[in-house]
Symmetry: C2
DNA sequence: TAGTATTATTCAAATATTCCAATATTTGAA
DNA sequence: TTCAAATATTGGAATATTTGAATAATACTA
């Protein structure tokens, strides 16, 4: 449910080591702030800041249990991305024709005409 | 061919509006720097900087035709990611059980015990 | 109601990113 | 050989991101 225009913003939000780990944890199930704090050994304020950012972008949400905030994954794009990131590729993409030694070839555009 | 450890770095590199557009262009075929410059109406030095960054991370490469550098896509993860970004999702992920009005529910962890 | 656990917010310092202008480098062409 | 086209690199200013410390807000519990 991300607008096409926001997708780069969302990628930027995801591309952070701690936020990525938070998303991976939440993809396994609900977690409250202090459990994340304990699990990652990161200061509470920092965890909250990242959760807040993730929420502002609609990637996660929470429900409440007493004083606990139970965060969970909301954006369906995330699990697909996490899976894609786990995939490993054997080969580079095939390169366009060029001499493999000199790395010279012809440009297909018309800049050369 | 990205090491698991570098994937976040790579995501960060991709998560930039101009770099994303460059990758999209290159996914359609080889492009030289001045064609990109013209196409995007961005200063040459800036295009070069972004291409250089993309290359340092192994996402693209180039071959040479005279004074032209013919850039092309190298990292097989990119087309998959671009396709995933095009996909649109109809529904949010199913939320864990909680009252939809009060947004209250029970935390499954043992923090509550 | 007072105290405490849980989480959020604000502020400021440190660091990183982005872009432009200027300059350097490389290579084909005259 | 010069000259010019194509691209890369460098330095610096503006801006954004990240983090910790301190503090605020909220809601159980005794």
């Amino acid at each position: 449910m991300i607008s096409q225009a926001d997708k780069i913003e969302v990628l930027k939000v995801i591309a952070h080591p701690l936020r990525m780990r938070i998303l991976e944890e939440l993809s396994k199930g609900v977690k409250c702030v202090s459990d994340l704090e304990e699990f990652f050994e990161i200061r509470q304020s920092n965890i909250s800041q990242h959760l807040s950012l993730l929420r502002r972008h609609g990637l996660i949400d929470f429900y409440i249990d007493g004083r606990l905030r139970c965060y969970f994954l909301r954006e369906p794009f995330i699990p697909d991305l996490l899976e894609l990131l786990r995939k490993d590729y054997e080969e580079d993409l095939p390169a366009p024709a060029c001499c493999p030694v000199t790395r010279r070839g012809k440009y297909p555009g018309d800049r050369r005409n």
